[in-house]
């Protein structure tokens, strides 16, 4: 069983929603980014998504765009991301998913990338602008090294394509709760539950729901129908706000514990 599959099985058996976190590799710089990943793991994040900074993040809102700029300015890249993951992997229990735009992966070469990712201990890869139709070879290359390919599904995704993603994907499926770019919102999108139910009809794979989630109540709400909630921009904002302050790591840890606090209390909500 892959580390991702094992994690989602355990989360389910604990009767709580999983928490998936997103941070950009190299934000605010590479050493502190590594320390942040360890802190996330300590604070109880179940899956760590690690974003590869790319010069043209067209699916991201302003918060992650700025994180990307900070990371690039600090010398981060796909190679640096994989090196970083390799360094922290032995100290982290949670599965690690690389989140990237297609071009850095293609530039490195899919075989070389898959080799290096497997060597670094990467558990899954999600390529934002590599939809199912373009991802066939990519998925096979990763699968041959035991690395999961994670597909995004959106409210605009047809049932036929959900079916295809369910066949090709592994580890988990990532539901996008709303149309648009990444960014924290005040409430969970109204169509999110319908999307998760539509995906559920096609697959037994775990489903994580993201885009716009920022508070423990959101995690609990999403946990009532999905297997996990993804928190990205809101966490990246905590990192941005802390800036170079010495309590950066502490603030990150506190934020995730706060999110997890509600996660622990899921049962009430789930049966409400």
């Amino acid at each position: 069983m892959s580390r991702l599959a094992g994690t989602f099985r355990r989360v389910k058996s604990e009767g709580r929603p999983g928490l998936v976190t997103y941070t950009t590799a190299g934000d605010p710089d590479l050493p502190r980014s590594g320390a942040i990943l360890e802190a996330l793991d300590r604070a109880g994040a179940d899956v760590l998504e690690v974003g590869v900074p790319f010069s043209d993040p067209l699916a991201d809102g302003p918060v992650i765009q700025r994180a990307t700029e900070r990371a690039l300015a600090a010398g981060s890249s796909l190679r640096a991301t994989l090196t970083l993951i390799g360094q922290v992997r032995p100290r982290i229990a949670a599965p690690i998913v690389v989140f990237s735009y297609a071009n850095p992966l293609l530039r490195m070469g899919l075989d070389a990338f898959a080799d290096e990712a497997a060597r670094a201990g990467v558990d899954g890869v999600l390529a934002l602008d590599l939809p199912i139709e373009e991802a066939g070879g990519f998925r096979d290359t990763l699968a041959a090294r035991g690395v999961d390919t994670i597909f995004l599904l959106s409210p605009t995704t047809t049932d036929a394509r959900i079916q295809k993603a369910a066949e090709l994907g592994s580890g988990f499926l990532y539901g996008i709760s709303r149309l648009g770019v990444t960014g924290a919102r005040d409430r969970v999108a109204s169509g999110a539950e319908a999307l998760v139910r539509r995906i559920r009809a096609h697959t037994a794979l775990p489903i994580a729901l993201g885009f716009g989630i920022s508070r423990p109540e959101h995690v609990a709400e999403v946990g009532a129908y999905a297997d996990a909630a993804v928190v990205g921009s809101a966490l990246v904002s905590v990192i941005a706000d802390a800036g170079s302050s010495p309590d950066l790591i502490e603030r990150v840890e506190q934020y995730v514990r706060w999110l997890r606090g509600a996660a622990e209390g899921r049962t009430q909500h789930a049966h409400a």
Binding site: Q65, P104, R107, T156, V181
Partner: protein, 399 residues
Amino acid sequence: MRRDPDVRGYFGEFGGRYVPETLVEPVEELERAYFDVRDDPAFAAELNRLLKHYVGRPTPVYEATRLAAEAGGARIFLKREDLTHTGAHKINNALGQALLAARMGKRRIVAETGAGQHGVASATACALLGLECHVYMGAEDMDRQALNVFRMRLLGADVHRVDAGSRTLKDAINEAMRDWVTNVVDTYYLLGSVLGPHPYPLMVREFQSVIGREARAQFRELTGGLPTAIVACVGGGSNAMGIFDAFIEDRDVRLIGVEAGGEQIIRGRHAARFAGGSAGVLQGTRTFILQDDDGNIELTHSISAGLDYAAVGPEHAWLRALGRAEYAHVSDAEALDAFQRLARLEGILPALESAHAIAYASRLARELGPSAALLVNLSGRGDKDVQSVEKALAQKDRS
């Protein structure tokens, strides 16, 4: 050689559809809608009516004898897209797509613009058809094409300033795509060149191919034959594909695309994708792009906002791989010089983009000698560039 991409939108190994998941279905919906209207005589009739009575087509082919005499060699003919309503070829595509958007029931249009000509064309088409228009434009381009910003606003469009990245065309496209992905239900993305995910490269080429169809017949009528070579500037590559298209099967006619050589072919100082680039994926398509070893997109530079972009249309990458088209580049200084020469010798102010084609054609005319005849796509007029040119000339005088 049939000229449609394959079902996945590939021209050989270039093209495809590299978009975020939310856009996959909207892009497929667009493809279905486009293929519907492509063979619909009523759609063609409506578009042709507008092209004739509103845009002023056909545009003439004019022999530039004084320019040619000074170059000293081949005859030079200009396809006068600068004489279209709004002053550039961009209107051919903007009207076609705006009609399509209206048919699809999408009343909100987003567009990107570099030189501002596509933005003006989109704003114009939207005014004509009663559609809401939002144009994204890089901050640097808003400064150097200020006249076009004002024109767009007069035409009722909202112009949104983009401060990210290089603050030019690439960043405007990122922002337009972010708007589209957010408002996809009622919004149509009116892309201005042969770029982006399938079906845009095909669709934009088809809407621009009227240029080559007219020019081929006009050139034959004027000379009784075909040109030795076609010369067109290449930003994304829409005016070039538009004029190349009718000549693809004429194997003896050389097809030459001219990229922006900027200051020099060194990293960050030019936009000649075929001189300094390699295959990669940017903004929905696999093509030649300017990138570093990590796969990040490099900054670009050109005196001309419309050519200042890190990727080239995928069909150009394919035509080059096949050996059917050739690509050259022209520096800022050469383009500036061609701008002035065409003004003084022919009484025509070309767009700085088009001035790149004029510069290369003059060079080629000398090389090929009097037995040759060149057909140059004069893609747009230069009113928008007068201030930039004034500034560049003042700088040149000082140095």
